[in-house]
Symmetry: C2
Subunit: 379 residues, 2 copies
């Protein structure tokens, strides 16, 4: 591969922004493509192409300008990635990775084929499938759209076949996946990076708390037994290897009360639960992604401090973030704000990392929550 | 003061770039003004005004667009800063700080008036002054232009009155300062930040090695006695207080073989010897500057690791930096490249920080030097 000077990024959200901040620090020229002008990533990139993800001529322009192209979230138009590949441009992770991770059924089947545990699941394409799934898997269950859902959108928890039927109607004919609900001990994730030579590095296992489908808090490292952590990291390595991912990716797991480590979701990109790596490791998940796609050596992750990450969501009460001075009075806190204009309710607007000395305990989490409570959105 | 949303930065070099990377991470809108299109700072800022520093209408435009204005190096046109102040715009540090730090004579007189030690010095405005300085202060000595010199430009080491006269001719009538040469134990610097309430925080004292007038390496913390470190930090606090700086600044010191801590230079801005703070402290010198000028609480500095910083200078042998993969094979190294197009000989093109476990010793410095030797500039 020729030396990379320009990196193209499909998608201009906060993940692209944090990627671009690291890529710029390392001296790369960054071009992003996003339909929204002056997007979070576009603000810090050298250039933004303002176009829809499925605008093939704009996508081609991104290809022409870039030595390597990546994407910052997986719900982009796969046809655009295939188009670039067909033209001989280097896109990574490849469209074959995207194909699997865009589809919850293919994702689960992939995990099973790789020998990894998942929840019980069934594919629901029609009302008969739904009835059969209800009988075979039982309730409580989770129905999710097979494609396009994120941050709790397109998900319904159902307790009976009647509730399932109502959810099915709600989905307007979209294909669904029917999953048994797991008796949860906690949710875990592993951020890992794989390069073209097949080397893989993984950050410590993180522990995640969601609120209505959206990540609220990550604790790193997770407060689980070493044996559990090792199983999660091993599973993440298998995912990267068998999917052939080149870049940073995330595998989310359910840890059941019975001690099972179940693959839940695979994201072929840096992930919200890895934001803490920016502030407490010498090489963040974003820099690892730069390294992987630019054929530079990966950096074995090293924690300089334990950490709690908390998301800052919009409240719909205004676009101005108040309370920052109160938050930053605590010198253990590092703030990240994404430059989005409108703080729509439950939109991810920023996050903060709290550095924690020693083990993350309930007192530390209470401190993080108290810090979080200082922030509010005002007109 | 109203809440800051937009920060204006006069100057688009690497210091502005690293400042903008932190300001963007924190969610600010950043506008820079620099004569060179797509400057290092302009690449990561939201906008760049392309204009000369003394273009008052462009400077006014920067003022109109910004809630607060700062500058990234001190050799800008002081008239532009005064113009903004006269129009009621908030510029920080103020023009009165700039006036002193742009003039080596005023700077030394200020330090003396503040009760701080400096080298012996004399003001040379004509040939008679030069002869008198030679007689009173003696040789070896250093002649420097009173204004505009940096990175060893406009400096001459002289051993006799004849050499001094030759240097004086070389300076083409510029006012000079004649300083006694110090018998050096080492060079130190303190990066500190002062806010509008007069609070001051200071990073650990750093130890600097120069090569032909340009910083080559910083070791943090400096390998000096606590008593010396305390004197340097105390002196830095006095400088900030008595000059009334609001923002991050640097005081460079000579530590003489006799144990004297002499103020050498004052920079009213983040400084090359504080780059390491980006990688090994939760709040870098740039974020502290954001905090000071936006009236957010300062963050008491905390080292997560000891560090060695080495500058990467252009060689004049090409504009492509080779050897990055070899450099980054060491996971203790964090690379910063400034996005300058031309690697002119001895131009500051980037730097790296090496995280060091335990005390920085000769072996660690040898490792950093070996890492540095892996980099080269090719066409």
């Amino acid at each position: 591969m020729k030396t990379v000077e320009t990196i193209g990024v499909i998608g201009g959200g906060q993940l692209g922004r944090m990627f671009a901040l690291d890529a710029k620090r390392m001296g790369y020229y960054v071009v992003t493509l996003d339909p929204q002008e002056h997007s979070p990533c576009g603000q810090v990139a050298d250039e933004q192409i303002v176009a829809a993800y499925e605008d093939l001529s704009a996508i081609e322009e991104l290809g022409r300008r870039s030595d390597v192209i990546t994407y910052e979230f997986e719900n982009i138009h796969i046809g655009s990635v295939r188009h670039l590949e067909n033209l001989g441009y280097h896109v990574t992770p490849s469209s074959s990775v995207l194909r699997v991770t865009q589809n919850r059924i293919l994702e689960k089947q992939f995990a099973r084929n790789a020998g990894l545990a998942t929840t019980e699941f069934a594919h629901v394409r029609n009302a008969d499938d739904l009835v059969r799934a209800g009988e075979e898997i039982g309730f409580p269950a989770i129905l999710k759209t097979v494609r396009g859902g994120y941050d709790g959108k397109g998900q319904w928890r159902v307790d009976s076949i009647d509730e399932a039927a109502a959810a099915y109607d709600n989905a307007n004919g979209a294909e669904l996946i029917f999953e048994s609900e797991v008796s949860l001990a906690c949710e875990l994730s592993v951020i890992a990076t794989r390069n073209a030579h097949g080397d893989i590095v993984a950050y410590p296992v993180a522990e995640n708390t969601h609120d209505r489908g959206i990540l609220a808090m990550t604790v790193a490292p997770a407060r689980v037994d070493d044996a559990i952590a090792t199983r999660a990291r091993d599973a993440a390595a298998i995912v990267g290897r068998d999917l052939g991912i080149v870049g940073t990716y995330c595998v989310e797991f359910f840890l059941s009360t019975g001690g099972d480590v179940l693959v839940n979701e695979i994201a072929p990109r840096p992930h919200n639960s890895g934001h803490y790596t920016i502030d407490v490791t010498p090489c963040s998940q974003y820099e690892q992604h730069v390294r992987a796609i630019c054929e530079l050596p990966l950096s074995p992750p090293r924690l300089l401090s334990n950490a709690i990450m908390m998301n800052v969501l919009g409240a719909g009460t205004g676009d101005h973030l108040a309370g920052i001075a109160q938050l930053l009075a605590d010198p253990s806190i590092v703030l990240h704000v994404y430059g989005k204009r409108h703080a729509v309710a439950r939109r991810k607007m920023g996050h903060f990392t709290m550095l924690v000395d020693g083990t993350v305990d309930d007192a530390a989490i209470a401190r993080a929550e108290a810090a979080h409570a200082k922030l509010r959105w005002t007109p």
